[in-house]
Homo-oligomer: 112 residues x 4
């Protein structure tokens, strides 16, 4: 992932796009891409959504939006010096304490 | 990243949360977390947004939301069998062809 | 609705909040509120989502988020001079031509 | 606005789209449209965002997305029996108590 983050940084630098890459703009771009992923599923039933990769066109669209989300997440982390893997590892550690396995319930919104 | 994806899958399985983790629901949860990242920046100027990590409380909030976005992205990829790193690598390859470095312009929405 | 738009404008002016109310910021705030509405439904089945108003607490939360979405939509329209009702009326006119009633299908994303 | 809400309900009924119009799906569609509005502004400076209606093409795009956001908000309210205008009016009443005009500060996220 670090290699991809460096490639993205070099890609932006070579095109003089860093001026647009404020944390505010990159967070907005990330949310726009996440919504494009939602759009693929918005009218599907839960069952249809589970079979979305069976259609070649839909599968390519899903992979494309996943790439976009990850690209903006890594660029956001790059400009702010955030280590996404460390942040997630620490969060899983915390959540293991917060949600003991004996209390299986509806998933809780992690940031609450 | 593969290790974190496995930890998240085990975490969900141990709590019987897989029933909620349809691709449709995980895409929605991803977009909700991305919006929580946007919320941190929504009233900031571009300059203020670049200094957000200087405040310890804001920095912790940013890292927390980054972790949440990555967590849902990896869980989405897990249930659909998508390799996020490969998808992004392939996308960067394509974009290097689409945006030659001599034509520096405003960043183009990658999925257009 | 015009009366509410004027109340919101006066509310912001009285608190000197206009400086934060750029179209860019208001669009972001609108999307953040829309995501808070999504969050209410993210783990619900379609059937559960249809019964959300039966719970008093959930009903209040839904109404609160609807108010927030409408508030930011009206403030966005205020700063850009957009007439939301006219824009929607014109759009329905166009869509009646684009989607004849004999061709009933899955709903199409209106802006495509 | 009530007239537009009825037109939208009739439009959906005539096309047998009601089956797709669960509250969950309509909330997702609303957030997708709000993100399409954000997308217009994502790389603009605050100053550029304030001048977006000067460009005929951008102005049409803004009006189109405003129409989409309002359309899904009204359809969401229709299926759940929510009165958006009443909800907003009540919210402004509450906010006038919460944010006295003497304490002008950065706008606070209304639902917090």
């Amino acid at each position: 992932m670090a290699g991809l983050q460096r490639r993205l940084a070099a890609f932006a630098a070579a095109r003089d796009w860093q001026q647009y890459h404020t944390p505010k703009n990159l967070a907005a771009a990330l949310s726009v891409e996440a919504s494009e992923l939602v759009e693929i599923f918005q009218w599907l039933t839960p069952e249809q959504s589970a079979r979305v990769m069976e259609d070649v066109g839909q599968a390519a669209r899903v992979e494309d939006e996943v790439a976009d989300v990850l690209a903006y997440l890594l660029q956001f982390c790059e400009v702010l010096g955030v280590d996404a893997l460390s942040a997630l590892s620490a969060k899983i550690d915390r959540n293991e304490g917060r949600f003991p396995t004996t209390a299986a319930t509806r998933p809780v919104h992690h940031s609450q």
